[in-house]
Symmetry: C2
Subunit: 152 residues, 2 copies
DNA sequence: GTTTAATTGTTCAACTCATTAACTATTAAC
DNA sequence: GTTAATAGTTAATGAGTTGAACAATTAAAC
């Protein structure tokens, strides 16, 4: 039963990172980090993949590579991210978290977990579970129809 | 039955304007408007209230008034918005849509309706209805706990 | 093997949106 | 009538975005 709730919380966090409430700066305001939301998304992605590239991030977040370069630069200046050139293919640069970056990430995730837990618990587990399932389906449909254009 | 689906579509559009999928620029890409999402939100709000003020918009979208001034300026330059000073209280400026602004709004809404309809129809009406209800409750909880901060 | 094409990532200029702080103009309060 | 508060703007600054041009490197064509 307990791990059931934990799973719901994890699923919600996953969703709330693909969805973004307008006018809400959860990371800065409620979690008390000086990262922007976008910077936290990237911190999170790098942490989970251990190591990734700019192209991969651009693909994942559906923005141009130059946008990723700008964000990574700011995070690099804060000492959160390391850049390592691939020895075989010297075009690619691997991005990894520094110790400082990892500590910040772990600390934030802990707080995010507590925050999400606090309002997930206000729902009947069945209701929130059904909600998340529909949400995932909807998200998938939105992704699939991303290039569909409405005619006149 | 038919108005049931229409209602669901309306509710979804309302929600999707308070929620904002990251990396998705629905208005520009799928609807084919040259407005940004933020500009469309404001177009929409002014249309629905007939007339409003900068302060009201700042309150509604939870940003500072200077941010609203910047957006309104851009929309004013495009000829979408009119500014009218109140004759009694000459500090306040009423914002209304021009004919051009209103035409653009109506045109966009029509396309948005079609787009949302196309994927709402992929769900069982019961499922999407339940989804929207939970979403509204969740949204309310998020708004209420906006000032809650997670402790160390 | 040399030329051509594709890929990875950066830099730069221009845009939108956000905040903070200082400011004008006007109205309200005492 | 002086002081407070309110409505809105302006200016400086920063983050994130795009598009275009670029360098460096690798892959493909021949």
């Amino acid at each position: 039963m307990l791990e059931n709730i934990q799973e719901l919380i994890d699923q919600y966090i996953d969703l709330s990172f693909s969805v973004h409430r307008k006018g809400e700066s959860l990371i800065r305001d409620q979690i008390g980090s000086d990262l922007t939301n976008d910077q936290h998304y990237i911190l999170r992605y790098i942490s989970q993949t251990e190591s990734c590239t700019s192209s991969e991030l651009a693909e994942e977040f559906d923005v141009k590579k130059s946008a990723i370069t700008a964000i990574i630069n700011r995070m690099w200046e804060k000492g959160l991210i390391q850049r390592t050139r691939d020895e075989k293919d010297r075009r690619v640069v691997y991005l990894t978290l520094t110790e400082k970056g990892n500590q910040l990430y772990v600390n934030c995730e802990e707080r995010i977990y507590k925050l999400v837990e606090s309002f997930i618990k206000k729902f009947d587990p069945k209701e929130i579970k059904q909600f998340l399932e529909t949400y995932k389906k909807l998200n998938q449909i939105l992704i699939e129809s991303k290039d569909y254009k409405v005619e006149e």
